[in-house]
Amino acid sequence: MLVTEKNALTIEIEDLTKRFGNQRESLLPILQEVQLKHGHISDFAQQEIARLLDIHPVEVYGVVTFFSFLSTEPKGRFIVRLCQTISCDLAGKEAIAHTLEKELGIKFGETTQDKKFTLEYCNCIGMCDQGPALLINEQVFTKVTPSKVIDILKKFN
């Protein structure tokens, strides 16, 4: 990471501590903001957060790796999360999974070459009466059909 990038990140995190506080309780909101803006929480970011919150970097790492929506590695700009839990499964998630893999040209767990889409499974997102359902970043898509997949993906540039 360039020095200028590091400085900018430090200032950003310092601002976040001003907004959320610099106590341990502020950890999760700060991590979520960094994740939102940068798509991941880098080594440097984790250490800066640890320094400003006065906790150990490995504790930050332990929290980041615990939660499914936080990541230490950069992923695609748009993360497609397909619900694999039983109601969506019974409603036809397999077909959607197939279509997504074909359309994006990647397998689940991978990111497209142009770093645009990452494809993942997730567990129940609370749309069980309208399955199959998926999340793309925060947007929820319900009653997805194979043909709708193409339209949905088009929305993301």
Binding site: Q23, R24, E25, S26, L27, L28, P29, L31, Q32, Q35, L53, I55, G62, V63, F66, F67, S68, F69, L70, Q84, T85, I86, S87, D89, L90, C122, N123, C124, I125, G126, M127, C128, D129, Q130, G131, L135, E138, Q139, V140
Partner: protein, 390 residues
């Protein structure tokens, strides 16, 4: 999507100015009202809400907290999403009433990360409440101050467990705590904290509006009031329904127009699987209890596949700290995989059921204590079907 079925508790007419009413009586009388209503937690655990509030209110501490558990992660549960979206007033004002009752000035709404799309709407609502003096300093002209902060989850089912939720609020991994001490004595940052489900707070709102006596007339003697069920699976009309406690499975199936039903999973992945022979049983804390999830399986569905789906869920979502849950769930899932390969004997399955029984009593939190439930109930009721599948 609105709540379907005839609204009883959640009828528009029952939504009054409970906040004003609550603030006009003593906090201990608010607690008393909730106690007398017989309200039990609506998240799944079913702990008497009045007792929880009484313990928290009598705890000696300057700082106390109210937490609304909107981490709705139990598979098949989506009723809280609807409540937050369309009955926001009930939920937030219920929290304020809770704060008043126990003597807290700060509340958190712990909103699961998957419901992030609701965040802006909910924050705007809070802003509106502040403008109307229904939140913030000196609410409605009294000397009671209370404010609410929304905190997001980040994709961990286990954070729906109250002590794991508190841990994640404190900036730790979402690992459940040792209990005792309980959150009502030692909760968020060591202070007395009540953690209640979205539907519980909403119910409190109505109890204050219409009175405990009116409320307790609904339902059964041990399960007062009504329950929101989120019904999905093989049925024509999935959705959120308000039903009276004591309703039978058969009645539910009729309501949602389900046909050729083989089994009904009540209580989500951590609930029990009810076979056809038991469809006359009822939803209540004394019979089949649930946080609201009802998933319907018809005759075409493979019970082995369903069970695998549940166990995969638990293997991934376990926080991983205690031995029985972390490794036990893996063993249960491995048993199912062995069945698929035709390598599993019935006696080994019975060993696994015994393991499940140990997990139910030796695990550190509710996740590990209930993850064997689907394994035990599905294996017990559908042994023949599962073993004939190769």
């Amino acid at each position: 999507m609105p709540i379907l079925n005839k609204l009883v508790i959640f009828d528009e007419q029952n939504i009054n100015d409970s906040l004003k009413k609550a603030l006009s009586i003593e906090p201990k009388d608010v607690v008393m009202e909730v106690r007398e209503s017989g309200l039990k937690g609506r998240g799944g655990a079913g702990f008497p809400t009045g007792t929880k509030w009484m313990l928290a209110s009598s705890a000696n501490s300057k700082q106390k907290y109210v937490v609304c558990n909107a981490d709705e992660g139990e598979p098949g549960t989506f009723k809280d999403r609807v409540l937050l979206d369309e009955y926001t007033k009930l939920v937030f004002e219920g929290m304020v009433i809770g704060g008043y009752a126990i003597g807290a000035n700060k509340g958190f709404l712990y909103l699961r990360g998957e419901y992030r799309y609701l965040l802006d709407k909910l924050n705007s609502y809070l802003e509106q409440m502040r403008k109307e003096n229904r939140l913030g300093n000196n609410i409605l002209g009294t000397n009671f101050s209370f404010d609410i902060e929304i905190r997001l989850g980040s994709g961990a089912y286990v954070c729906g467990e109250e002590s794991a939720l508190i841990e994640s609020l404190e900036g730790h991994r979402g690992e459940a705590r040792n209990r005792p001490p309980f959150p009502v004595n030692t909760g968020y940052l060591g202070s007395p904290t009540i953690v209640n489900n979205v539907e519980t707070f909403a119910s409190v709102h109505i109890i204050i509006a219409k009175g405990a006596e009116w409320y307790s007339k609904h339902g059964t003697s041990k399960s007062t009031g009504t329950k929101l069920l989120s019904i999905s699976g093989d049925c024509k009309k999935p959705g959120v329904y308000e039903v009276p406690f004591g309703i039978t499975i058969n009645e539910i199936l009729k309501l949602v127009e389900a046909e050729n039903t083989k089994a009904v999973q009540v209580g989500g992945a951590s609930g029990t699987c009810i076979p056809k022979a038991e469809f006359e049983r009822s939803i209540s804390f004394e019979d089949i209890s649930t946080g609201g999830s009802v998933i319907i399986f018809n005759e075409t569905r493979s019970m082995l596949h369903i069970l695998e789906n549940f166990m995969e869920f638990f293997v991934e979502e376990s926080c991983g700290q205690c031995t029985p849950c972390r490794i036990g769930n893996v063993k249960l899932l491995d048993g199912l995989k062995k069945i698929r390969k035709g390598e599993c004997s019935l006696s080994y399955i019975h060993e696994l059921i015994e393991l499940g029984k140990s997990m139910q009593i030796a695990s550190k939190c509710g996740l590990g204590q209930s993850s064997p439930n689907p394994f035990i109930s599905i294996m017990t009721h559908f042994e023949n079907e599962i073993f004939s599948q190769r």
